[in-house]
């Protein structure tokens, strides 16, 4: 059922309640929902704004912190870079100055008389202070090297006045190490124009004594010097300066060389046999080398020979190996592991000063050729594949080939012990190419590089010394590089950045707590609002429903009372009247009902009276009929009875015939009386029909049997033909018997010769019973009239045939009262066929008639 149908089936009261609840509860719920939405929206808004504010504050703080920090970092980095670049440039300048001083030395030496005494005097006058470190010992734990004697500064300096106290900063005296006055030159020679050494004065034990023919390379220092061809080209005043030449110091160890590490690597601990490496190996073998200056010596306007000076390489080393680009500034010993150290590279980018001596490019004293440098896997493989000595292979190998941190040192290269740093071929160190670029045009600069797990700032500055071969490029003698850990520069900024971050984090967490508090407060408020809203809405809904029911009751009470009254009136309480209070429609309705009720009651009263009268009249009529019957039968009893007695007792046939005539007339009268009374009874509706299913074949057999005698008496054939007859039909057995007897009797009565045939058959749902005779027949005009009272086909026949004239009328009435039909088909002179149609089942017509009679 649809909702609308449900609604239609509701009572007014329910409808009123539904409507009232609908128009009140729906807006109420909507209002509550709207209020909830608004409150929720507001709280969400407040919450999100608070979040946004907090987020904005946090972002601002972070950005401020980051900006300040970045600026500080950048400023510090820039300052540090500037400081380090400046330091590098200064060192490079110092080196250049130092070298130029040596130019002056050689030029002065050229003016001297080439004699041993003169030269010795010259050399002894050229010394320079160098600082070295004292002896180092392996620490007790074998993990590090410690100085045998520690230098202690027990003289703290305090500000003498309060006015000096602010930012009072003091440094102890610079600790360069142990000072020693060291000769600048290891050798001074005079070579004649054929290359033969004529004078030779030596200091120290590096160079071999004895005069030799230096035109031949194998006679030079470790067979590596080739200055003779250059010397011959020099004009007076021109200077030749060699590259750094010294025997390569091999190593079997790279990095800290301690007993602990040796044990860890399961290698023999023999640091003295390996290359020196500052604090990593302070007891290793040192690189010893020279740089040779030479210039022609004039005698009488022509070149008589050449004077040479071999600079002790240690003096070059002194420029770089004490420098630390940190607040320490200097250290008596280099610490290669720290990453903060200075190198010097020659004009071919070869290491000529390094805290790790085994990294300094040197020569093989046997061959006089450069020792193989440290190589990456690819270069190593290529070199090995070429099967050439290094110097031959190197001559064809391009420099700075795809240098990259991705390249890795060849393990075999490390193990070979020959790991000099020739930056041109140090392909796993891309900073080499960077330095080359920075110094190519004689300038300086820096870049940061991520190396050995640290961001390092590396600076390079060309050494502006352009004498001799070094004048070939703007780079001059070579370049100084100083590296430093970038993080160290801006440590202060990083620290303050961390502090700012911590502050922001603290503020942030506070803000977060505040925000959570705010959200919790909002949520709590929302919860309270929701609860309050729900409860008040529910209370109001209940209230509305209660009011709706109450109002509906008030409104429908009068309708209920009225409909109850109407129902009682319907049930027969005709005296019931409704209360008609007030002037409204309901009162009008009640008044109208009351008027109608009065009218109905009056009508009913009149009807009742009429019914009573009719019933009384009917009763009287029945009584009259019954009395008539009784009163007529009583004298007939005497007439017929005594006539029969007379007939039986009289002996004279004529007299007996008279008596018989009396009896026959009496019988006729009785038949007439019976028929009249039956008709009257039917018309008065007082004849009872006992309608049941009856056994038709048995009834037919019985009535035909009863008339056999009559037929035989008239010498007529009487036949019964049945066809497909149902066992039972519906009707009153006695009345049907009466009708059939009447019809057969009439047929026999009006037939003088021939036969009478009784047929019965089923036609649809009815049974047709025919009585056919071969009698006189009935004219068409009479065929309807014969069923009317006191009509016969011919009045003369009546007299001849002793009919009451009421038999067919009664038969018609009886058949019709049983729900059947009666009729005739006749041809005058040929006979008649009377038929009766009766229902097989109980017909509705007979049902209705029955009801009518019973009422």
């Amino acid at each position: 059922m649809k909702a609308s149908q449900y609604f239609e089936h509701m009572g007014i009261r329910t409808k009123l309640i539904v409507i009232f609840v609908a128009i009140k509860v729906i807006p109420l719920v909507l209002l509550a929902w709207y209020a909830w939405q608004a409150v929720q929206g507001l709280s969400e808004d407040v919450s999100s704004r608070a979040m946004q504010m907090a987020e904005a504050m946090r972002t601002t703080q972070q950005q401020t912190g980051k900006t300040a920090n970045d600026d500080a970092v950048r400023a510090l980095d820039e300052r540090s870079r500037e400081a380090i670049e400046s330091l590098t440039t200064n060192v490079a300048r110092q080196v250049a100055d130092f070298l130029y001083d040596r130019d002056k030395d050689i030029l002065r030496a050229a003016l001297l008389e080439p004699a041993e005494a003169t030269y010795r005097r010259f050399l002894s006058g050229h010394n320079r202070e160098l600082f070295g470190h004292g002896p180092y010992l392996l620490a007790a734990d074998g993990k590090s090297w410690v100085p045998a004697e520690t230098f202690k500064d027990d003289n703290p300096v305090r500000p003498p006045l309060n006015d000096n106290a602010k930012d009072f900063h003091t440094r102890p005296p610079e600790n360069y190490g142990i000072k020693s006055l060291t000769p600048l030159f290891l050798e001074m020679t005079y070579v004649d124009t054929s290359g033969l050494e004529k004078v030779k004065v030596q200091q120290g034990d590096l160079l071999k004594p004895g005069l030799r023919d230096v035109a031949r390379r194998e006679n030079t220092f470790i067979r590596a010097e080739d200055y003779w061809p250059a010397l011959k080209k020099l004009k007076p005043g021109e200077i030749y300066v060699s590259e750094v030449i010294g025997p390569y110091v091999p190593t079997h160890w790279i990095g800290p060389y301690t007993k602990a590490r040796a044990e860890e690597l399961k290698r023999p601990f023999n640091p003295e046999a390996s290359g020196y490496a500052g604090l990593e190996n302070p007891v290793g073998k040192r690189f010893r080398g020279i740089v040779r200056w030479a210039t022609p010596v004039e005698k009488g306007g022509r070149v008589a020979g050449y004077v040479t000076l071999a600079l002790d390489h240690a003096h070059l080393m002194a420029f770089s190996n004490k420098i630390r680009p940190t607040p320490d500034r200097f250290a008596p010993i280099a610490d290669p592991a720290s990453g903060n150290y200075a190198f010097i590279w020659d004009h071919k980018s070869r290491s000529i000063s390094h805290p790790r001596d085994y990294f300094i490019v040197g020569y093989d004293p046997e061959s006089g050729q450069p020792a193989a440098p440290w190589m990456d896997t690819e270069l190593w493989a290529n070199w090995k594949a070429s099967a050439k000595p290094w110097h031959e292979f190197q001559a064809t190998e391009p420099a700075f080939q795809d240098q990259s941190l991705k390249r890795k040192p060849a393990p075999e290269s490390g193990k070979s012990g020959s790991v000099a740093l020739d930056c041109r071929y140090l392909n796993f160190s891309p900073q080499c190419h960077g330095w080359d670029a920075l110094t190519e045009h004689g300038g300086s600069g820096s870049f940061a590089i991520f190396f050995s797990g640290l961001w390092k700032l590396t600076t390079a500055a060309a050494i502006p010394y352009y004498t001799g071969q070094y004048g070939a490029s703007k780079r001059g003698f070579g370049y100084v590089t100083i590296g430093a850990n970038v993080d160290d520069f801006h440590k202060a900024a990083t620290d303050s950045g961390k502090r700012i971050d911590a502050m922001i984090a603290t503020a942030d967490s506070k803000l977060k707590i505040e925000r959570e508090g705010l959200q919790a407060t909002i949520a709590e408020g929302l919860g309270r609002t929701a609860f309050g809203l729900s409860v008040s809405t529910l209370v109001m809904i209940v209230l509305v429903i209660v009011i709706a029911i109450w109002m509906a009751n008030v409104l429908t009470k009068r309708i209920t009372v009225m409909s109850g009254g109407i129902r009682r009136f319907q049930d027969g309480d005709l005296s019931l009247r409704l209360e008609a209070q007030g002037q409204d429609e309901m009162a009008e309705l009640a008044k109208s009902f009351n008027q109608m009720a009065s009218a109905v009651q009056d009508s009913f009263g009149r009807l009742e009276d009429a019914r009573h009268s009719a019933e009384e009249a009917n009763r009287m009529k029945s009584e009259f009929l019954a009395n008539m019957s009784h009163e007529l039968r009583t004298p007939l009893n005497g007439i017929l009875g005594f006539a029969e007695l007379l007939e039986m007792e009289l002996e004279d046939p004529a007299q007996r015939e008279y008596a018989q005539a009396i009896r026959t007339s009496g019988d006729h009268l009785l038949a007439l009386v019976t028929a009249i009374l039956d008709l009257a009874k039917i018309e008065a509706g007082r004849m009872d029909f006992d309608l049941t299913t009856l056994d038709l074949p048995a009834l037919l057999t019985e009535v035909v049997g009863l008339q056999k005698g009559h037929a035989q008496a008239k010498n007529l054939a009487l036949e019964l033909l049945t066809d497909k007859l149902p066992d039972v039909v519906f009707g009153d057995r006695m009345r049907l018997r009466q009708v059939l007897l009447n019809l057969i009797n009439n047929a026999l009565k009006f037939t003088t010769h021939g036969s009478v045939t009784v047929r019965a058959s089923r036609v649809d749902d009815r049974v047709r019973i025919e009585v056919q005779d071969s009698g006189i027949g009935i004219k068409l005009v009479d065929q309807q009239l014969i069923f009317e009272k006191f009509r016969q086909s011919e009045s003369s026949i009546t007299r001849n045939h002793q009919g009451s004239g009421l038999g067919l009328t009664l038969a018609k009435e009886l058949v019709e009262h049983m729900g059947g039909e009666i009729g005739v088909i006749s041809t005058p002179g040929a006979g008649s066929t009377f038929y009766v149609l009766l229902p097989v089942g109980r017909s509705t017509q007979s049902d209705e008639k029955l009801k009518g009679q019973q009422a």
Binding site: H630, R633, L645
Partner: protein, 125 residues
């Protein structure tokens, strides 16, 4: 010994007719001209086998007589036949329901009477 029939009717002619017919059937007859008389006669220890009893009688109706007789065990074997001009089917049914053994509707004839008597007394008179 002849069977005895009591003929009760307030109309003398009817009694006379019944008497003639019953006598012809070989019965010994007694007559009473009303219900009260009939009851008195029966109570005077006159043995009777059959009563032909009129219904509409002024003093005591045949139905009342029948009712009294049927309530008395002394008359258990007595046959009572209504002898009446009340010809309605419902009347006959009522009589048979109230203790009458049969009904003879006026006007009677000898054949009908002898049939009824033969029905009630199969062994004959």
């Amino acid at each position: 010994m002849k069977r005895r029939v009591l003929l009760v009717d307030d109309v003398a002619l009817n009694r006379k007719l019944a008497n003639a017919l019953m006598s012809r059937l070989g019965w010994q007859t007694l007559e009473a001209d009303g219900g009260i008389a009939a009851m008195e006669l029966l109570r005077s220890n006159q043995p009777v086998d059959l009563i032909l009893l009129d219904i509409s009688m002024p003093d005591l109706s045949g139905e009342e007589v029948c009712k009294q007789l049927r309530s008395d065990p002394a008359y258990a074997g007595l046959k009572i036949v209504a002898y009446t001009a009340h010809a309605g089917q419902d009347d006959v049914e009522r009589f048979l329901a109230n203790g009458f053994d049969a009904a003879l509707i006026k006007p009677i004839n000898s054949q009908r009477l002898s049939e009824v008597v033969a029905d009630l007394f199969p062994s004959g008179a």
